[in-house]
Symmetry: C2
Subunit: 138 residues, 2 copies
């Protein structure tokens, strides 16, 4: 029974919404997942993609996503270390949500202003990272 009913819910109608949003609630989770939609990423790749996210938060958010079964962490026991993050099937099933968010943002950014707390861009003008270490693709 995929859908209980369009009018009937086990508890509150907002229940499912809450459960879903709780998973991507967190300062970086949705962005992380969005980035992972396009493929597997390494830790430092993600860091470059989200310049404002400290390693601590990066690890934190990634681990929670992993615990929630949305992200898969693959560790290669090698030197130098290599860790890859990718979306699990469950994580990928979030794609409609993520794309809906993306689509909404694309359609509305800059059109309505950002009244109270909407800062755009994961990497703002806080600090510029001219260059980071080269690519050590294994």
């Amino acid at each position: 029974m995929a859908k209980a009913s369009h009018s009937r819910f086990d508890c509150n109608p907002g229940c499912a919404v809450e459960a879903a949003i709780n998973l991507i609630d967190g300062k970086w989770k949705s962005i992380l997942m969005f980035q992972l939609l396009s493929g597997t990423r390494r830790f430092n790749e993600l860091r470059r993609l989200l310049p404002n996210c400290t390693p601590r938060m990066m690890t934190n958010q990634l681990r929670e996503l992993e615990q929630d079964g949305l992200v898969i962490r693959t560790v290669y026991a090698q030197v130098p270390p290599k860790v890859e993050y990718s979306l699990s099937p469950l994580g990928r099933s979030m794609e409609p949500v993520l794309m809906a968010l993306k689509h909404w943002g694309d359609a509305n950014i800059g059109r309505y202003g950002k009244p109270h707390a909407v800062q755009t861009c994961s990497g703002d003008s806080r600090r510029d990272r001219p260059e980071d270490s080269g690519r050590t693709a294994a």
Copy 2:
């Protein structure tokens, strides 16, 4: 594979996602908006719909949504007071996002367990509420 194969973005691909999620980020915002999808609600109606949300938080979240232009607050200068909340057109444009969340939740609740922090239902068993507010018409 290319990092940005979707189309072009102002800054980071996650930018739009971030902007969007920032608006519904907050413990109750998405649920509130979801409830408002089905129509205008009064303050205490919403309270009944989200039993776990204290009046303080309710006001807080509602006000932020209002400031962000997603929700419209209508005050009737009457006795007893009457205040109605409804979605603005902008708020309603969030419908795809909210429905995507809802749909995901419906499809996945109870199927994968809730590893670390997923509590379902706005009204959980945090505090025993012996008195179930049935249909107590005001």
